[in-house]
Structure formats: C-alpha cells, structure tokens
Symmetry: C2
Subunit: 339 residues, 2 copies
DNA sequence: TTGAAAGCGCTAACAG
DNA sequence: CTGTTAGCGCTTTCAA
C-alpha cells in the first residue's frame, strides 16, 4: 500500500497534475476547471486515498500547518488542560501542535525556538513562565505570528490572552473579607512577573479599599522553581510569624503547598485558617469541606488564543481585538469559619 | 535577517553544495573531504547561523524528526506528566513530539493517524485508552515504528512499556489485608481493557490467596468516559449496597470519584473506609491524613518508551527487550483505621 | 578529493 | 479551460 501522490491521481483520472492540484485545493473557480473533471478528480482522489505530503507542501509554500506551543512545563494542571483545548481548537483549523518546554532539562528557549523554526511552524503560542521576552522580540521582528497566553510584554505589543488576574484575586480577597476575616495574607511568587504583579495589586488594592491595615510582611513572596519542601517550609514559617487569619494564594501550586504547610503546623482549613486560591484544582474541590478558588476559564482562553493566532497567521480575517482579558470565576466553597 | 540555506554557506565558503551537506551531516569521512575545507565549512555555517530546513530534508529523506504521541486526553495527570518526560527524552535524540488526542471533540483516531502520517512522523507512541487496535495493526503492517504505553495488544506483538498492573493492585490489596480489612472491594472500569483486566486479576488473585470469601458483587464495574456525576452515584450506590470495609481503586480518577462518593454518603477515609488507589495523585498525598497509592514510575516509563521507539526507528541499536514491564511502588499513607 | 545534477511531491506562473 | 514547467532546499549518486 504505497503512498499515493498527486501524479498518480492525475494519470488515473486522465488529467494534468495541475488540474488535480487546483481542484484539491479548492481553486477550481479561479482556474475554471470543468465541473465534470473536478468531480472526477475528487472521486479518484478519494478512492485512492490521496493525502498531500506535508513536507512537500511545506517546502513549496513555506507553511507547515503546525503551530508551536511553548510552555515552561506541560505537567502543571493549568497547562496540561489548556494544552488539550489548544490541540482541539487548532485541529478545527487543520493545524497540529508541536510543543516544547523550556524548563527541566529540556533545551533552552533559544534552542527550542530554533528547532520550531526549522520545522517551519506557522505561528507560536507562548505561555511564558520563563523570561523569554527578548526571544519573543526577535520572533516578532521576523514577522512571526505570536500570541501570548497568561502574560504580556508591555513594550512589545504582542497579542495576548489572559485572565483578569487583578479582578480574580480581588474577588477572592473580598470574599474572605465578607466572611469576616480581617488579617488576610497573600502568598505569591516572583513578584516581577506581570501576572503575579497584577495579582499582588488585586490583593493590596482590595485590602486598602476595605480599610484593613495590613503590615507589609503579610505578603509572602516565594521564588518560582523553588523546591517543594523549601516552599512548604517558607509558607509555614510565614504563617507562624505573621499569624494571618486567612490566606489568599496567588497560584494553584502555592495553594497546594500552603495546605501542606498548614497540615505540618497542625492547622486545618477552615478551622484555623480561611483560604482562597487563584486557579482551581481537583484537590480544592475534594479537600473537605472544599476550598474556594478562582476558576480560570480554560476553554475560553484556549479558544481565543487559537482564534487570535489564526488571525495573525492570515487564516481567518483578523479581528479587531488582538488582545483580550478574560474574567475568572469565583467558585465558592467552604474554606471559611462559620460564625 | 533571511533564512540562510545550504547554498549560501557553499558560496560563502567557496565550495560546492554537496561538500557542505556532507560535512554538516558528519559524512566527511566517507567522502574524504579535506580537514581544512571541513573546518572552514563548519565555521561559516556557525557564523551564518545555518540550520537545515526540515521540510526539505523531510521531503528528500522521508524522515521528519518528529514522533507522534497519541493519547486519549492529555489533560489527565498521568498523561500530562508522562507527556512532559516524553518530550524531554525525545529531545535528547533530536526529536520533537507532535500530539493528538482521540477523545473529546477531536478528530477520530483514523483521521488523527492520517494527519500524523501526512506530517511524515517517524514513529508513534500510543497510549491507547481508546480502542484502536485495528488502526495500530495497519500502522504495523506499513512498517511504522510503534510503541505502546500502558497497554498492549496480545495479538499484534507491538513493543510496549507498561507498569505491572497486576502486582500494583496486588500490593495494594495486600496492604489493606495487613491493616486488618477483610471485606475489600474493588472499583474498576471497562474490564475488557488489558490493563484493567490485569488489575482485576491482581485483586481477585490476592483476595483468593488470602482466603477471603468475597461475594461477586464486591467488584464495582464502571464505564470509561461515564459522566462524572454518574460515576460518583454509581460508586455511592455500590458502597451502600455492598458495604465493603475497604476499597481498592483501579485508576486515579476512580479514586477521586470514590472520595467524592464517600463524602456524599457522609463517610470519610479512614474512619469509615480503608482505601488504596492505583496511580498516585497530589490529592492522595494532601487529603488528610493521606491516602495510600501505587505510584507509577512516570519517568522510567517515558524514558523506556522513547528508548524502545528509537530502537524501532533505527536511531539507536535495537535492544533485546522490546517490551518491558515496570513495577509500581506502593506509597504508604494513612488511609486505614488504626487498631 | 571535489562538483554537477537528479530528483523528493507539490504549487502556481505561464503558455497554449 | 488545461497542460508544462520551474523551482522550494536538501541528499546522494556519479562523473571528473
């Protein structure tokens, strides 16, 4: 069962190669090929099971029908769920996704970008946990379509899709306030990254708006990539020292670590501590009696990111809004002390 | 900054195209190209930032340096962590991975395979939650390198890497037995799939070996792909009806659903029920006071799968063992009643 | 030791 | 309306 190529179809159908190419690419209108010939070609192609060799098309046209997905690590829950919807959404446009992570032992971002470019990827979807602003800049300079997910680089004007980090955290903190907490702490990481900055702002602005006077140290700053046990210890130390009555966590893995830290301290949620986490996870739903979290609209993020990228790539008409901010949704559970 | 190609290097270095190609592919020995010319070529190539156009190479050689990863859904925890190590491992051999899922709204497995073949993927890594035995068979017939992960098709003799499902469950059940449980139930799914069959056997053989007389109904059979609420209800009904004193779960999502079912019933682990789950998850570690689970050696699985595939693809010498079974590891926690 | 040249399968400009 | 043909960038045979 050899691979059937365009010339096979042409000879089987008794027409020229170009006729086949035009018909199969839906360009019969422009080239005014007769209806009957077109039908015949299509029929033969289907019968023979013809499918274009992408390498040849790619070589000829410079398009690969592949988009590159660049993440820090795909094993996080948010990332992997998102990767899944991106794969589905891209598939709707006939694109496959090839992915690469910039973290853990993989090649660096430079190398990664190079490899993707060797594969002629048509566009890039980037979730820059890592700091690759300069690489993105060079991508843009070479007119490569790029869409950023969950982050943005103010200077570059790259299209992006992100959740409203500010609002999400603000909602969480307000919820804790309404439940009666007055010494609400915040656990964040790498405060120089945009997303995190917005989350911190969501916290401090809300705290200010509620006229809570919070000592500076109530913000616990952790380092992204920190070893898990260190992270847990750091949070535990912070809790012991600052004695917040409730905690707003800036990322799901922080919430998980927080839970472990509290367990280690012999404390539990909500008996000893109120809690809300930005970004939902299974465990927050299951951990008795359920921990309130800000759910990220994964599906919408993936959908929009692919849509905008397709616009950038010229696959669909480009929409007016090249960057969008999507609201998260507060999923209320029982991580608060009653009464 | 145009893309630099092989002819650019050739002219810049004052040699022929073929000389460049040979040197850059490390074939200078065979073609006996002089040391000095070779050095010059390499130097120019590096300076100009030359990287081969993969589409051209692929068209010429039929190799793409891409492997296809086929999963049911990449959003599950086991899958996504595995995808991550596969990406890293494949990268070590200079391969990228392109992936596709066969579930949720994506194209069917047939279509997926077709698209991957259009992209000239050099080999396939398949985690067949879905039933695609016949498609795999046709892949094999066309001499495509394939390695199965976490499953195998007895008839086809396709190389596979999998965890020892039988032993893993047996260990879990034995652990429960040692903790004093005598009416141990099993929750599995789709009992006709190989992995699950082995897990069921791990359960029933152990139960038999311990001389427990267990009524038939103590095995709770669920359907893969069942809606989550239905799943939870099914487990809850089963627990109410059969009154097991401990539960062995055959997959992590079943364990999670089980936890929810128990919560719904007002029961908790370990006060009202002993529990072990096949395949570990964050939540089992965090759920107070910790649920014993059989951990799958993700890293080793991914490593071996890629290694075997590379052997099949002729990238490395093929090893003797084309299929391997890896032992899981029982992570003991406190999901048992003391005393 | 090196270079010329044939194609891999496809698209699209151009000539009938 | 339809067919011919020139490449896309690369590998590799064959001749020099």
């Amino acid at each position: 069962m050899r691979k059937v190529k365009i010339s096979d179809i042409a000879s089987k159908a008794g027409v020229s190669i170009s006729a086949v190419s035009f018909v199969l690419n839906g360009k019969e209108k422009e080239m005014r090929i007769s209806k009957s010939v077109a039908r015949k070609i299509r029929q033969v192609a289907k019968k023979e099971g013809y499918h274009p060799n992408r390498a040849a098309v790619s070589l000829r046209t410079g398009e690969s029908k592949i988009i590159g997905l660049i993440v820090d690590t795909i094993s996080g829950s948010f990332f992997s769920r998102l990767a899944n919807v991106i794969e589905t959404e891209a598939g709707k446009y006939g694109y496959k996704v090839i992915y690469g992570s910039t973290a853990n032992g993989s090649e660096g971002s430079e190398q990664l970008l190079r490899i993707l470019s060797q594969h002629n990827v048509d566009g890039y979807l980037v979730m820059p946990e890592a700091r690759i602003e300069s690489q993105i800049a060079s991508l843009i300079k070479r007119k490569n379509p790029v869409v950023l997910i969950d982050s943005y680089f103010a200077k570059l004007g790259v299209p992006y899709v992100m959740v409203d980090n500010f609002q999400g955290v603000a909602d969480g903190v307000s919820w804790l306030y309404e439940k009666g907490y007055r010494r609400i702490g915040f656990v964040g990481s790498d405060l120089d990254m945009v997303q995190m900055k917005d989350r911190v702002r969501g916290y401090s602005d809300t705290v200010k708006a509620k006229k809570l006077k919070i000592p500076k140290g109530l913000i616990c700053e952790t380092v992204y990539g920190m070893e898990n046990t260190m992270l847990i210890r750091k949070i535990a130390d912070y809790v012991k020292k600052m004695r917040p009555d409730a905690l707003m966590f800036g990322a799901n893995y922080l919430g998980v670590a927080g839970l472990e830290a509290l367990t280690g301290l012999g404390m539990s949620v909500p008996a000893d501590m109120g809690m809300v986490c930005f970004d939902d996870m299974d465990i927050f739903r299951l951990y008795p009696p359920g921990i309130t979290a800000v759910e990220q609209p994964i599906h919408e993020i993936g959908h929009k990111a692919v849509e905008i990228l397709m616009g950038e790539m010229g696959v669909i008409p480009v929409s007016v809004k090249k960057s969008i901010m999507i609201k998260g949704h507060l999923v209320e559970r029982n991580s608060f002390r009653v009464g």
